[in-house]
Amino acid sequence: MSSRRLLINRVLLAVCMISIGLGVVLGHVLVTWWNATLL
């Protein structure tokens, strides 16, 4: 794998991991807010 492809691969990997983390955190925050406010 060329260094350019490898760099893109690693950057995308990092973006995906951040996205998953963001999704989990936001999901948790939303569920907590939902439970606290609406239920």
Partner: protein, 266 residues
């Protein structure tokens, strides 16, 4: 039936596909529906244990929220193995390959698909999975999805009298789409993957930069065409080893008489 069984048991990939279908619909492993399924498998199937990623994306479009988690998981699969999940894990891909394998027995003429229609999955992804649910607040791709009809629509209509009573024109349309695709699958290699599948459209761009890739040694390649013959999506891997349509099934790697096609890992 015996041809189906032979197809199931001869190649290890078929066993992985069968195992994947059984696991995704194992029913007993409940509680995993927060995890996106690495393939087209209906969330509403009575035995399904994972979430349909396309259904989730539509759900988020309706809620007007960004599906960070689902996009992240799909991206992680794409960046790691490209479209390999299409070739090894997707239950609908498996069904299409099994039906295409029946064409010789039934003496069916093969219908080829022009490569110029390769943009259609992107169109369905943007329009039916993104824009239409956003505007109509209804998940229209899921409503018409032939896999949904096969795995969820038909079983529920057969199972529940209450749901049977609600059957209307939409179910007839869904059924017609499913039958059309099932007939088409017997004559064409993976027509749904090549012309419709929005999940494949999401993973396609990752093929060029994914950790797992194919490479063709041009000096060894004799252009014999065996790779295209065995390819489930009918591509000539010698011309483009990074093809966005390649499902990384490895059939070309196994079949190349000159061992010119190889698997590379990052």
């Amino acid at each position: 039936v015996s041809r189906f069984v032979t197809l199931l048991l001869t190649a290890p990939r078929r066993r992985v596909q069968a195992l994947s279908f059984l696991l995704m619909n194992s029913y007993v492993l409940q509680g995993l529906k927060a995890i996106p399924c690495p393939g087209l498998n209906c969330y509403a199937c009575p035995g399904a244990i994972l979430a349909c990623p396309i259904g989730t994306l539509q759900h988020f479009a309706i809620l007007r929220q960004v599906p960070f988690y689902t996009l992240g998981v799909l991206g992680l699969i794409g960046v790691t193995v490209g479209r390999m999940a299409c070739g090894w894990l997707c239950p609908f891909g498996w069904l299409q390959e099994l039906l295409y394998g029946m064409r010789d027995r039934w003496h069916l003429r093969v219908w080829n698909i022009s490569e110029s229609y390769g943009w259609l999955p992107c169109f369905f992804l943007i329009v039916l999975v993104g824009i239409v649910p956003l505007l109509t607040l209804e998940p229209w791709f899921s409503k018409l999805c032939p896999m949904g009809t096969l795995e969820a629509g038909i079983p529920w209509v057969v199972w529940s009298a209450e749901i049977r009573a609600q059957v209307g024109w939409l179910f007839v349309v869904k059924l017609a789409i499913l039958v059309a695709f099932l007939l088409w699958m017997m004559r064409t290699k993976r027509p749904f993957c090549r012309l419709v599948c929005p999940l494949g459209a999401i993973w396609s761009p990752f093929n060029a930069v994914s950790g797992v890739r194919l490479s063709v040694e041009e000096s060894s390649c004799t252009q014999c065409g065996v790779c295209r013959e065995v390819c489930p999506v009918d591509i000539n891997i010698c011309e483009d080893a990074d093809s966005s349509r390649c499902v990384r099934c490895m059939e070309c790697v196994k079949s190349c008489p000159e061992s010119a096609v190889r698997l590379l890992g990052a």
